[in-house]
């Protein structure tokens, strides 16, 4: 394990300290937690609070999306481990200005349970709380998994859309309805060239040969659906878009947003090349995405690989929300 760090058991607290030191105008750390809230609390006044989070190791998610027009707070758990409810609860309290708080949870059993408990705790304080469980990863649809689909990079688009709606004054019920409308149109598929190493574990989550890739890997090194020889970018794109097409039924009369997400160690050059192949593949289907973004948004430590998210913009407003002004570290 070759990492720039000090004590493997302190990575999260040192990371959060380094983050808030570098970005004091964006983020404030909640006392005795590894949760962060907008430094500009005034920007949240009267609006529904949005709280996200999960295990650490996915930076810039989720703290990088805290800011005016996007999240109110983010909770940073231990690496690849759900944060505890008391921390989430503090984030909820810090995000509530009376209009209630909406939780964006990725579909992992630990995350779901811990966020739900935090919700119970907050409701005892008469804070209105509702939530969405994001499960955009189509990799595991036809497998034995019964936990359901995993929540991955599409979560970032969910943050953005809900963040814009909340900033424009949508109430808690409207935010919840919006999240539920968006969810079935949001699909992601990933491919890994190498695995991440959790600092406290010290070795990679799985091993791939020098010429092997794994389709459908999760953001915590969960197994994917097929291991194969490395393909040219064009063929990776074809495989992934074909699967996404099956899930979303691409239609040239509809509008789409695309998020090309680096998993951590894959340079932007490769992501842009992949992007070129994505646009070409879609063009052959007469589709030109009306919104797109390429970069590291929901990573998996130093995993090499890319995930591709397609959101069918079933409502004109969602595009406005994606383009809505925002002031965060990482959007």
């Amino acid at each position: 394990m070759k990492k720039i760090m000090n004590d493997p058991s302190n990575v999260v607290s040192e990371m959060v300290a380094g983050l808030v030191s570098a970005y004091p105008t964006y983020l404030t750390q909640l006392p005795e937690t590894t949760a962060v809230v907008r430094a500009d609390r005034a920007s949240m006044q009267g609006k529904v609070g949005l709280v996200s989070g999960g295990g650490s190791g996915h930076e810039p998610a989720h703290a990088g999306f805290v800011g005016d027009g996007m999240l109110s707070a983010a909770v940073c758990g231990q690496v690849f481990t759900s944060p505890t409810p008391d921390q989430i609860y503090e984030a909820i309290k810090a995000s509530d200005t009376g209009a209630g708080v909406f939780l964006i949870i990725k579909n992992y059993s630990g995350d779901v349970m811990n966020f739900e408990m935090a919700k119970d705790m907050a409701e005892l304080d008469d804070i209105k709380v509702s939530s969405i469980v994001v499960d955009d990863d189509i990799a595991v649809e036809n497998s034995l998994y019964t936990q359901g689909k995993r929540g991955v990079a599409g979560t970032v688009l969910m943050h953005k859309i809900l963040g814009a709606a909340a900033d424009q004054g949508a109430n808690l019920a409207e935010i919840e309805a919006l999240a539920k409308e968006v969810m079935p149109h949001l699909k992601t598929l990933g491919v890994a060239l190498s695995a991440a190493t959790v600092p406290e574990v010290g070795k990679p989550g799985f091993e791939l040969a020098d010429d092997e890739i794994e389709y459908g890997v999760g953001i915590h090194s969960e197994p994917g659906y097929r291991r194969e020889k490395l393909q040219p970018s064009k063929e990776l794109v074809a495989e992934m878009l074909t699967k996404l097409d099956e899930a979303l039924q691409f239609d040239a009369t509809k509008k789409y947003a695309v998020l090309i997400n680096g998993m951590g160690a894959t340079p932007l050059m490769e992501q842009y090349i992949f992007s070129n192949d994505v646009f070409n593949w879609l063009k052959a289907k007469d589709i030109t995405p009306v919104f797109s973004k390429v970069g590291n948004y929901m990573t998996s430590l130093e995993m090499a690989g890319i995930s591709l998210t397609v959101l069918e913009l079933a409502d004109e407003k969602w595009l406005e929300y994606l383009n809505y002004q925002v002031d965060t570290i990482a959007w």
Partner: protein
């Protein structure tokens, strides 16, 4: 048996000792079918529980159970934290109306099942709790029965939690949460034994 805050403390101290002794074993069990942290998670949590009980010295059972619950919830994390935490939180709630241990444990089982959505046979801690708690209520719980319930998780296919990502490949491994739950009930048997 009626649970008291003193008995609770004995029980928890005993459980903590078992977990501390088996920390590495529990994490090892969690490695092939999970992420290798169950022993560390539980050890961290139970250390916090016994410390809280010792320093805060809760005056009554409800306060004691709540303290256990909150320590587990805030220190364990992952899946086991909310599950064990919920078990003790439900016991705390129930203790407002009764101190009868079997009733408290029934509330705990319901809480775990509701929190995690797992059923009997899903290869989780539920496979221990759901078998052991009725035996305890009937006054027939033995070490052997606990061991049997734990052992039975080995041949199951995981349907919940991280192990479920492995599907069929989870067969042949004990469920780590079932094993740690076994220790909880062993500790309970011992605590009750001391009282007799």
């Amino acid at each position: 048996m009626e649970l008291t805050v003193e008995t609770l403390t004995t029980w928890m101290n005993d459980f903590e000792a078992k977990i501390a002794a088996k920390k590495a074993y529990l994490s090892d069990l969690d490695t092939p079918i999970g992420d290798g942290d169950h022993g560390n998670n539980m050890a961290r949590g139970m250390r916090a529980v016994t410390e809280a009980l010792a320093t805060k010295n809760p005056a009554d059972l409800t306060t004691g159970l709540k303290l256990v619950a909150m320590s587990l919830i805030s220190k364990v994390g992952g899946a086991a934290g909310p599950l064990y935490g919920t078990a003790f939180l439900e016991m705390a709630k129930k203790s407002n109306t009764t101190a009868e241990l079997s009733e408290l444990l029934e509330a705990a089982v319901l809480g775990i099942k509701q929190r995690g959505g797992a059923e009997l046979g899903d290869k989780t801690m539920v496979d221990v709790w759901e078998v052991v708690v009725p035996e305890h209520a009937a006054g027939q719980l033995t070490s052997e029965k606990i061991a049997q319930a734990v052992e039975a998780t080995k041949e199951l296919v995981a349907k919940r939690g991280r192990a479920s990502y492995l599907g069929e490949r989870s067969v042949g491994h004990l469920d780590p949460g079932a094993v740690s739950s076994g220790y909880l009930f062993e500790a309970l048997l011992e605590t009750e034994g001391e009282l007799k």
